[in-house]
């Protein structure tokens, strides 16, 4: 699945670049002429239609199409600043969660995590003996006072203008101080080499996609910074069949789970939203709606590892 995705992306990128090259060149100097004369490229005769960056449809010979390496969409410097004028926020509605874990699966897939590693964990919570148990998915809280950023000795994990806490795995020294500092134990370490194809591992690392994973460095939920830059919802949000996750922008005061959209402030007010471990002063960007009037009765069909029990039996 992922490989076909990337090849399609490569193809599109190649097309765009080639189109840009054609429209960018004046008639006097065709850069492809030289190559053609020296016999490096022989036209196949088949042409393809491409859309140039100016929105113009151009036609060119297939022989000129070249795959280009998949460069990160934004530079490291840009990725460290964030998207101006945004303050991202997530709302997790506990009354809708029945631990389907589609969020987890799509997240693991999108971020090429090693088997057994999860950025999203779905905890079984029971606050006291006689209180009701409920499912509590946890992501990175993207704190406004992030303890992990405070302790990082090399600025490998950083806080952006738009509220996101991301990791530069090309800089991380693997000291794991951030893991000790995070009270939500949200961080995951790449103890062994990532089990991904060589071509994927060779791609340049991007702080926004958090891929490819690098051995000996820390990783964690990134609020899908690459998706938010495109104006799309994070993978967990769109994967959840029950609409548990809402994502949005505090400045726009809007959060959406894809199907429904709410005013963030009203949603939090009406449903009495809260954040985890408020007393620590970490100021998380993830809000929870209490597990009241639940859509599903609580049924724990998982063993303590979080695996479905019937799955193990089969």
């Amino acid at each position: 699945m992922s490989t076909s995705d990337t090849s399609r992306r490569d193809f599109l990128a190649a097309g765009l670049l080639a189109g840009a090259a054609l429209t960018g060149c004046s008639g006097n100097e065709n850069p492809f002429d030289k190559a053609q004369k020296s016999g490096m490229i022989t036209p196949t005769g088949k042409t393809v239609k491409l859309l140039s960056v100016d929105g113009e449809v151009v036609e060119m010979d297939e022989a000129f199409l070249r795959p280009v390496s998949d460069l990160p969409p934004v530079s490291n410097a840009e990725a460290r600043v964030g998207i101006p004028g945004k303050k991202f926020v997530m709302v997790i509605d506990l009354s809708r969660c029945k631990s389907v874990k589609a969020c987890q699966a799509s997240c693991n897939h999108a971020h090429e995590l090693n088997p057994g590693e999860n950025w999203i964990k779905v905890n079984v919570m029971q606050d006291a003996e006689y209180t009701a148990p409920y499912w509590q998915p946890t992501t990175c809280m993207h704190c406004d006072e992030p303890p992990c950023v405070k302790v990082c000795p090399v600025d490998a994990t950083f806080k952006r203008e738009d509220g996101l806490v991301l990791i530069d795995s090309d800089r991380c020294i693997g000291c794991r101080f951030c893991m000790a500092a995070c009270p939500y134990t949200t961080r995951v370490f790449n103890w062994e080499a990532p089990q991904i194809p060589k071509e994927m591992a060779a791609k340049p690392y991007s702080c926004e996609t958090s891929t490819p994973q690098k051995i000996g460095t820390v990783s964690k939920c990134d609020f899908c910074a690459d998706m938010t830059r495109k104006g799309e919802l994070p993978h967990c949000v769109s994967a959840c069949p029950n609409g548990v996750f809402f994502f949005g922008d505090m400045i726009e005061d809007t959060v959406s789970n894809g199907a429904e959209t709410f005013r963030f402030s009203e949603l939090i007010k009406d449903k009495a939203g809260y954040r985890l471990m408020e007393d620590l002063g970490t100021k998380p960007s993830v809000y929870y709606l209490p597990p009241v009037n639940r859509n599903f009765p609580f049924e724990d069909k998982e063993d303590s590892l979080g695996e479905k029990k019937d799955k193990i039996k089969s």
């Binding site: 000795p153 370490f189 790449n190």
Partner: protein, 435 residues
């Protein structure tokens, strides 16, 4: 103290060749170091996956060992600086032992912290991208400072000894003489030189005290700056320093006994030294006990939900055996032994010292692991191996290798240079004669 002539002192204290025991000891240490090195090469090629550390127990015995090394190194400042500044003279023969323990321990503290890194080849990032607000950077700064001050406090008192050793060329052999003249040939025992040197030692002795406090306080802050049960404590700096002075003094007791036996130094490291060091260890053990009570009583009295699992684990749960073993060996039994006059004789004092060191090592293990395995949110959606921690053979090999490496530095130092300061002993003796 009986009066010994200058010549006799030089004869007794000049470095001697290893006997068969010494050779076997060095070979054993080399084997340990070699196994540790092989294990580390394996870790380098496969990554930290060869350890038993996982996302919850994200630090293990490498970090325990780091804390242990930093702790034991503090004794250099105690013996050379605190006792020197308070005009205590009996400790003179012990200064160099304490200082070489400090230098070798701090060297291996730096090595073991690099071993713990997931990307050791990016170590330079600490300098190119270092951010001052991270306690790790504070640790790098103070540990480096402490290392250099300790090296100077080891080197400056050696200058006069180089001069003496170069006068007995026949005994020491040409290779060692080259070493001595390389490091100390400029020293002519001129009054101005002695004056400058004494003044430098005095200044360094004062400077090293805040730096020593800083290294272990900052090391404790690597834990205390987090929110975790057992680490989230304002007592941590003082608790760590108290423990550090105790383990360092225990190590000095052990080293005193071994050097006295190996080099027949009964006249220089006397029963009186064991008696006095024994009393110091009792005092330090009581201070450490006090900080332990502080560290555990108040949280256990309140029994907050977040601390409950951690405290139960230590006192009655999975860690209780190690916990009570560590407290007994590091504090209770040594106090019981050393509080008696008979217990402060060399052999029982040596046993007490060994217990202190062993107990303290396990205490460092308990500072790191139980806290990490009691996170604030439940452990969930992780493989079963993530819920426990028992070091892998590679971790044991590397940890033992680093301890062997530290002892190897001390052993080689004692082979090359006088482990008891010659000039200072002569000075003391002359003072004594005048009295």
């Amino acid at each position: 103290m009986e009066i010994i002539t200058r010549q006799k002192i030089i004869d007794d204290l000049a470095p001697k060749k290893f006997g068969w025991r010494g050779r076997v000891w060095v070979i054993v240490l080399l084997i340990f170091c070699f196994i540790g090195l092989v294990a580390y090469l394996l870790q380098l090629s496969k990554g930290l996956v060869v350890t038993s550390m996982r996302d919850y127990a994200s630090w293990g015995i490498y970090i325990s060992n780091f804390v242990f090394f930093v702790a034991i190194s503090l004794v250099g400042s105690l013996i050379t600086a605190v006792l020197r500044l308070t005009n205590v003279h009996w400790s003179t023969p012990l200064t160099r032992i304490a200082e070489i323990i400090a230098v070798s321990a701090i060297t291996f503290a730096s090595i073991i912290i690099v071993v713990d890194m997931g990307r050791p080849e990016r170590f330079y990032n600490l300098f190119t991208h270092g951010r001052l607000q991270s306690p790790i950077i504070w640790d790098v700064v103070v540990i480096t400072t402490y290392f250099f001050i300790s090296i100077l406090l080891l080197y400056l008192p050696l200058l006069a000894d180089f001069n003496i050793l170069l006068q007995i060329k026949k005994r020491t052999g040409s290779r060692l003489n080259k070493l001595y003249s390389f490091f100390g040939s400029f020293w002519k025992n001129k009054p101005e030189q002695i004056k400058i040197n004494n003044r430098s030692i005095q200044i360094l002795s004062i400077t090293i005290i805040p730096v020593a406090f800083a290294i272990h306080t900052v090391t404790s802050w690597l834990f205390a700056t987090t929110y975790r049960p057992g680490w989230d404590s304002t007592n941590f700096g003082a608790y760590f320093i108290a423990g550090a002075f105790l383990v360092g003094s225990g190590a000095v007791l052990v080293a005193m006994y071994i050097f006295r036996k190996a080099y027949k130094l009964d006249k220089y490291i006397t029963n009186d030294h064991f008696d006095r060091m024994g009393k110091i260890v009792v005092m330090l053990a009581l201070v450490y006990l006090y900080f332990n009570v502080n560290e555990f009583l108040a949280p256990a009295f309140k029994m907050k939900k977040t601390e409950e699992g951690y405290l139960h684990g230590l006192f009655t749960g999975v860690y209780s055996r190690i916990f009570w073993f560590a407290l007994s060996t590091a504090i209770f039994i040594p106090i019981l032994i050393l509080v008696n006059k008979k217990g402060r004789k060399p052999l029982p004092a040596f046993v007490a010292g060994c217990l202190v060191v062993i107990g303290s090592w396990f205490k460092r293990y308990l500072i790191v692991t139980p806290t990490l395995l009691n996170p604030l949110l439940p452990m969930r959606d992780v493989p079963d191996s993530y819920r426990h921690y028992f070091p892998s053979w590679q971790e044991w090999a590397i940890a033992m290798g680093s301890l062997a490496g530290m002892m190897l530095i001390i052993t080689i130092f004692a082979r090359l240079l006088p482990i008891i300061p010659i000039q200072e002993t002569i000075d003391e003796m002359e003072e004594h004669e005048k009295d």
